[in-house]
Amino acid sequence: MNFPIISALILLPMIGSIFLFFSKDSSENKSTTKYVALFTSVVNFLLSIYLWILFDSTISDFQFIEDRNWLVGFVNYKVGIDGISILFIILTTFITPLCILSVNNTIKNRLRDFLIAILVMESFMIGVFCALDLFVFYLFFEAGLIPMFLIIGIWGGPRRVYSAFKFFLYTLLGSVLMLVAIISIYWITGTTDVVQLYELGIDVKFQNLLWLAFFSSFAVKTPMWPFHTWLPDAHVEAPTAGSVLLAAILLKMAGYGFIRFSLGLFPLASEFFTPLIYTLSVIAIIFTSLIALMQEDMKKLIAYSSVAHMGFVTLGVFTIKQQGIEGSIIQMISHGLVSAALFLCVGVVYDRMHSRLINTYGGIVSIMPKYSVLFMLFTLAALGLPGTSGFIGEFLILMGVFRDNFLVAVIASFGVILGAAYMLWLYKRVVFGKLINKELKKMIDLNKTEYLILISLAIPTLFFGFYPDPLINTIEVSVNDLINMYNLNLLTKS
C-alpha cells in the first residue's frame, strides 16, 4: 500500500481549514464556508470507511504503517492502525460532519473561524488515535488543547473564560508528567516507538512510576473522579458543537490511551494499580450518578452522566478480560454516539428557548413530537436499554467485572439503575408533564438539518444495538492479542 492513507486522513481537514482561512468571512459567504468544511469532513469520513473496508481484521499486527524520519535519531513519525484505533477514527470522522451541520443556529459570529477550529481539531484527534510513537501521540494529544480552548472561549456561554482556562490548565497539568514519562522511557529503552516497546517491554522497577505519570494525564482527560471537575464547566459553557466533540471524542482519547499505553506498556503496574482504578471507577459511577440526579441544568446532567459512563469504561479496561475490554471499546463508541446526540438534543431546545434549565421545559411532547421520539431513543440508549448500543457495552463490561470481582460488579450494576433514574427523570421533566411555560408554545419541531443529524446518530445506535458483530469482529483479534501479550508479560516478568 503506497498511498499514505492515514496521513491523508490527518492532513485532509488541515487542507480544508487552509482553504477556509483564505476565504472571506462575511455573512453572504456563510453557506459557502460551511459547505467547504462539510465537504472536507464528509470526504474524510468516506476515506475512513474505505480504510475500514481495506482493513484486515483477522490479523493482530498494526496495518497501514507509515514510518518516516522526523526528529532525526530520536523520534520517527510513525502512524498505523489496529482493530481498536480504526473504530475511534471512524467515530471521529463521523461526528465531525454532524458538528459542522449543527452550527447553523448556534454559531452567530465568526463562523469561518469556528469551522477552521473544528477541522483542525478533527485532524489532531485522528492523529491521537493512529499515533504509534509516544512522542507523536503526545504531540497530537496536547495540540488538541489549542482549538478546544478557543472553541470554548470564543463561542461559549457566559462563564466561558473560566471554563476555558480550567479546561486548558487542568489538562496541561495532567499531561506534563506524561511528557516526563515519555522522555524517561526513551532514556530507559532507547525508543519511543510503541511497536518496539511492546516487544522490548519496560523494566519492572520503573513501571509503577511511569504508569502513574501516564495515569495523571489520562485520569484528567477521561475524566475520572476526583479529577472530573473541569468537565461539567467545560460542557456547560461550550457551544453545542464543542460539547459534542468534547463528549464524543476528546474523552475517548484517554480511554484509548489506557488500553494502548497503560495496559500495553506497563502490564505489571496495571496489575498493581487495578484496585485503585476499580475504586475510583466505582466511586465515579455511584457518586457522579447521584450528582447527576440533583442537576438543574440539562447539559450539566449529561456531563455528569458522561463521567459515570467513563467510569464503566475504565472499569472494563482494567478487568483485562476479553469481554471487559471489548465492552469498554463498544461503550466508548456508543457513548460517543449517544452523548453527542444528547448534547445536540439539548442544543435543539436551547436554540429555541435559550435556557438549559430543566424547569423551563415540561410537556413539550405535544409541541415537538418528532423531537420527543428521538430524544426518547437516546435517553434509553444512554441508560443502556437492550436493543441500543449502550446495552452491549455495559453488559459486556459487567460480564468482565463479574468474572474478576463480584463486589465491584454488584456496586457498578447499582450504578446502572441510578443511570436509568436520572435519565428517565430528566426525560420526564422535559418532555412530559403539563405545559406550564406558555413561551414553549412558540417552539417549532425539528427542522430538516436537525432531523438529519439526529437520525444519522440514531441509525448506528440502533443498528449496533441489535447487531454489534461488525464492531466486535473488528476489535476481537486486536484485543485478544493485547490480552495475550499482557498475560505473557505478567508471567515472564514476575
Binding site: 535519531g73 489549542i146 480552548f149 476555558a164 496541561l172 506534563v176
Partner: protein, 472 residues
C-alpha cells in the same frame, strides 16, 4: 599571523563603526543613510563570519586569548542576524518618538561588536573588554528616549546595577587569577581543582555577575523596570541580543575553565534555573504592562536555557542553544506585534489595549495567538520543541526534580499567556489600530510566525546545525 582572517568580521565591523561615526559628523541629516549602511554592514559581517569561520573546528589566536570554534561562529551569526532584524523593525518607532538619530545604529553596532568579542573570548581580560563594550553601548541605548523620564530612569538603573555586577565579576576574575596564575581559560582549566575551597568564591562571584547580565533570578530586579522604561525597540534588543552573548559566555565559563569543578557550580546553576522558571511564571501573572510581562517571561525562558546548561553534557549545551534561538524567533515575532499597536502616532503597551484585537485585526491576532501558544510551549509549535530538547537532556542526567519543576512552571506560565489570548480573542473590541506598517515589520512578523508554526515539519534542521558544537 596567517590566521588573522578569522577575526575579519570583528575588524570589518569596528572599521565600519568608525567610518559611520565620521560620516555622521560630516554629513548632516544622514539618519537614513547610516541606518541603511548599518544594515548592510551587519549583513556583510554575518556573511564574512559564515564564510571564514563556519568550517573551522577550533583555532586560537592572539596568544590563545581568542577562540574561533563552531559555537562562536554560530552565536556570532545569530547575534548579527538578530541585531539586523531589530534595526529593520526600529525605524517607524524611532521616527514617531523623534529619536531617529545616527547614534542609534552606531550604538547597536558597537554593542554587537562587544558581544562578538565576548563570544570569542578565551581569556578573562578579553572577555571583560567585550562585556564592557557592549554594556556601555546598552546603557546609552536604554536612555535613548531622553525626553522620557522612565527611559532615563531605566538607563540609570541599568547602569548602576550593571556596574555593580561588573564589579562582582571583576572580583571573581581576580580571585580566579590568584588561584590559577593565568587569565587564559584553558590554562585555568588545567590549574584548577576542586580542593581549593576559596576558589568556589571566585566561581560564585563570576556566576553572580553573569546571572546579572542574563537576568536570572535572584539577580533579575533590574529587568522589568529597564524593559518597561526603555524605548520598545531597545527593549526588543535587550530581550534577545545580549542574551545570546551572555549564554555563550556562560557556556564557555562553565565548560572550559570550570569544567573540573562541575560539582561546585552545578547546584548554583540548578538553583538559578529553578528560581528563574518559577519567578518568571508566577510574577508575570499580576502584570498589566506588556513589556513587563515580556520581561518576566524572558526571565522564565532564561531559566529553561540554564536548565540545559546545568546538565553538564554536550546534549544540554546544544539544547540550550536551540532554546535560545527559538526564543529569539518568538520574541522577535511578539515585539513585531507590539510595534504594530499604533494609533495616531501613539504606541500602546498595556494589556487592556489588546482587548478584542481579533475582531479588527484578525491576521495580527492570529500571529499573536501562535506566538503566545508557542511561548507557553504547547505542541506542535516551535516553543514546545525547544522545551522538549531541554527536558530531554535534563532527564538524560536523571535530574527528574528539575524536569518536573520546569514542566510544572510551564503550566503556571501558560496561565498568563492564555490571559493575553483571552484578552485578544474573548474580550470586547476597542478602536482600530493603524494599518500602515513598515513592510520590514510585516515581514519579520510573518517570517517568525511561519517559522514557529511550521517548525514541526523539519524539526531536525536546527539540531543538525547545532550538533557541530562539542565543547566538552
Amino acid at each position: 599571523m596567517d590566521n588573522l582572517h578569522l577575526v575579519l568580521p570583528e575588524i570589518f565591523l569596528s572599521l565600519s563603526i568608525m567610518f559611520l561615526l565620521i560620516l555622521g559628523v560630516f554629513k548632516k541629516n544622514s539618519f537614513y543613510l547610516i541606518h541603511n549602511i548599518s544594515l548592510i554592514v551587519l549583513l556583510i559581517t554575518a556573511v564574512i563570519t559564515f564564510n571564514e569561520t563556519t568550517s573551522i573546528n577550533k583555532e586560537l589566536l592572539f596568544n590563545q586569548s581568542v577562540i574561533i570554534d563552531p559555537l562562536s561562529s554560530l552565536m556570532k551569526i545569530v547575534t548579527l542576524l538578530a541585531a539586523f532584524t531589530v534595526l529593520t523593525v526600529s525605524t517607524n518607532y524611532l521616527k514617531i518618538f523623534n529619536i531617529f538619530k545616527i547614534e542609534y545604529s552606531v550604538l547597536i553596532l558597537s554593542s554587537v561588536l562587544g558581544m562578538m568579542i565576548m563570544i570569542s573570548a578565551n581569556d578573562l581580560i578579553v572577555f571583560y573588554m567585550g562585556l564592557e563594550l557592549q554594556s556601555l553601548a546598552l546603557y546609552v541605548l536604554a536612555t535613548f528616549n531622553r525626553e522620557n523620564l522612565k527611559s532615563s530612569e531605566a538607563g540609570l538603573k541599568y547602569f548602576v546595577l550593571s556596574a555593580l555586577s561588573s564589579g562582582l565579576l571583576l572580583y571573581g576574575c581576580s580571585l580566579i587569577y590568584g588561584f590559577s596564575g593565568s587569565t587564559n581559560f584553558e590554562v585555568i582549566s588545567t590549574q584548577l581543582n576542586s580542593n581549593e575551597y576559596a576558589l568556589t568564591f571566585g566561581i560564585v562571584f563570576i556566576l553572580v555577575g553573569l546571572a546579572f547580565k542574563i537576568s536570572a533570578v535572584p539577580f533579575h530586579m533590574w529587568a522589568p523596570d529597564v524593559y518597561e522604561g526603555s524605548p520598545t525597540t531597545v527593549t526588543l534588543f535587550f530581550t534577545i541580543v545580549p542574551k545570546i552573548a551572555a549564554l555563550t559566555v556562560f557556556i564557555r565559563f562553565l565548560y572550559v575553565p570550570f569544567l573540573n569543578l562541575v560539582d561546585q557550580w552545578q547546584m548554583i546553576i540548578i538553583f538559578l534555573s529553578i528560581a528563574s522558571m518559577l519567578l518568571g511564571a508566577i510574577a508575570a501573572i499580576g502584570q498589566t504592562n506588556i513589556k513587563r510581562i515580556i520581561a518576566y517571561s524572558s526571565i522564565g525562558h532564561i531559566g529553561y536555557a540554564l536548565a540545559g546548561l546545568s546538565t553538564g553534557s554536550n546534549d544540554g549545551i546544544q539544547s540550550s542553544i536551540v532554546y535560545i534561538i527559538i526564543y529569539i524567533i518568538m520574541n522577535l515575532g511578539f515585539f513585531s506585534c507590539l510595534l504594530m499597536l499604533k494609533r495616531n502616532n501613539e504606541y500602546y503597551e498595556s494589556l487592556d489595549d489588546l482587548s478584542g484585537l481579533s475582531k479588527n485585526h484578525p491576521l495580527l491576532s492570529l500571529s499573536l495567538l501562535i506566538i503566545l501558544f508557542s511561548l507557553a510551549g504547547i505542541p506542535p509549535l516551535a516553543g514546545f520543541f525547544a522545551k522538549f530538547y531541554i527536558f530531554k537532556s535534563v532527564i538524560e542526567q536523571s535530574m527528574y526534580f528539575l524536569a518536573i519543576i520546569g514542566l510544572l512552571s510551564t503550566v503556571v506560565a501558560a496561565f498568563y499567556y492564555l490571559r493575553i489570548i483571552k484578552i485578544i480573542y474573548f474580550d470586547n473590541e476597542k478602536e482600530k489600530f493603524d494599518n500602515d506598517h513598515n513592510s520590514w515589520l510585516k515581514f519579520s512578523l510573518a517570517l517568525s510566525t511561519i517559522l514557529i508554526l511550521f517548525y514541526f515539519i523539519f524539526p531536525s534542521k536546527i539540531i543538525e546545525v547545532v550538533s557541530r558544537i562539542n565543547i566538552i
